[in-house]
């Protein structure tokens, strides 16, 4: 099911270069997809950053409420982190080119997450 969502996103959005499903607790990616074959170090860092940005349900990173979706944009890339519906200690991580249709991408991913739940 997780692989299906990862493949859906990379198939529908060619700007999505890396898609991963990860355990936020151990900061380890469990599944990956996408046109870029990322080295293990890059995936580890992606997992670490997702864990730091999403925070835990008990201790939100920023603001008073737990975060379920976070976006980080740099000048060369945009990262989208989405907590999994079934297990909120897992998350879907995406690295995309910055010109991606961000609204459409998030809506598609959220629809996929909703069907997952």
């Amino acid at each position: 099911m997780q692989a299906e969502l990862l493949n859906t996103m990379t198939d529908h959005y060619p700007e999505c270069l890396i898609a991963a499903y990860a355990d936020l607790g151990t900061r380890v990616s469990l599944l990956t997809a996408g046109p870029v074959d990322a080295p293990r170090e890059a995936l580890d860092e992606l997992c670490a950053e997702a864990a730091i940005t999403l925070g835990s349900l008990e201790a939100p990173t920023f603001g008073a409420d737990p975060c379920h979706v976070a976006i980080k944009m740099l000048d060369h890339a945009v990262f989208v982190y989405m907590r999994a519906t079934e297990d909120p200690t897992d998350a879907y991580l995406f690295m995309c080119r910055p010109e991606i249709d961000l609204d459409g991408f998030i809506k598609t991913a959220q629809a996929g997450l909703a069907s997952e739940g």
């Binding site: 060619p14 700007e15 890059a42 860092e45 670490a48 950053e49 730091i52 940005t53 939100p60 990173t61 920023f62 603001g63 008073a64 409420d65 737990p66 975060c67 379920h68 979706v69 976070a70 976006i71 980080k72 944009m73 740099l74 000048d75 945009v78 080119r97 910055p98 010109e99 249709d101 961000l102 609204d103 459409g104 998030i106």
Partner: protein
Amino acid sequence: MSEETDLSRRLAALANETPEFDGRARVLSQSGATIEQLIDEVDNTTLATALTFDSGNARLTLHVAGRRLHMICDADGSFSDENSVFGKALAVEDEALRENAASLLQGFVSNAKLLAVVSEVSTLIDGDAPDSMSIDSLRAACGVDTIDDSHLPQAERMLARVGDDLTAWIRMNGNRLESTSGNVAEISGLKIALTTQLSVFEQNRLQNCPSHSDPSITCFLDAANSGQSLGIAIFEETRLLFSIETSKIALACRAFRVVS
């Protein structure tokens, strides 16, 4: 862009040598393409015209009149867009359609091997139809800058573009609170996050994410389903903390991208 600068740009364009023709089309670029090239063609078109662009991968027809984009059509059936913008009037009230149109154009040029255009009379549009995009709204939707404020600090430039769409914001320079604006309760929440959470977040990222570099913008989406999201934009010593309607997150990211 000031009127004087715009006029200078147009005169310079007129002074250029005649663009190359390959026997069928006017070749604007033989390697890649930019959204500015495409928008400039719209900007230079007054009569009702079908501009068919060839990227080497696909062909799109833009129906243009009065320097306004009225409609986009798939010229060769190479697109399979489920939420298609093709053949629809770009009405002012349909913001989503206009954003999709801008994304389509950006995707078209980002994958281009070249850019060539053929101009023909458009029979599909009425030059006076109001359901169309002006050059300014097309530039804004495509994230092309229309304001020449490159001499100003990035945080200020970002606020110039998206400040009115933020529910509240506070701007820090180093440890100094420079300014705030917007909803008082939201500002109060941002100040709490600033004092209790921001430095921990930044420190964690510094220690664990060696590839991270600023400037950056990070948005935390609608955690409580309130319709409001929080964000942090970091430019050198300046931190811009903001609250924004979740539906406007992409707007903030686009503004960041333009100024960063």
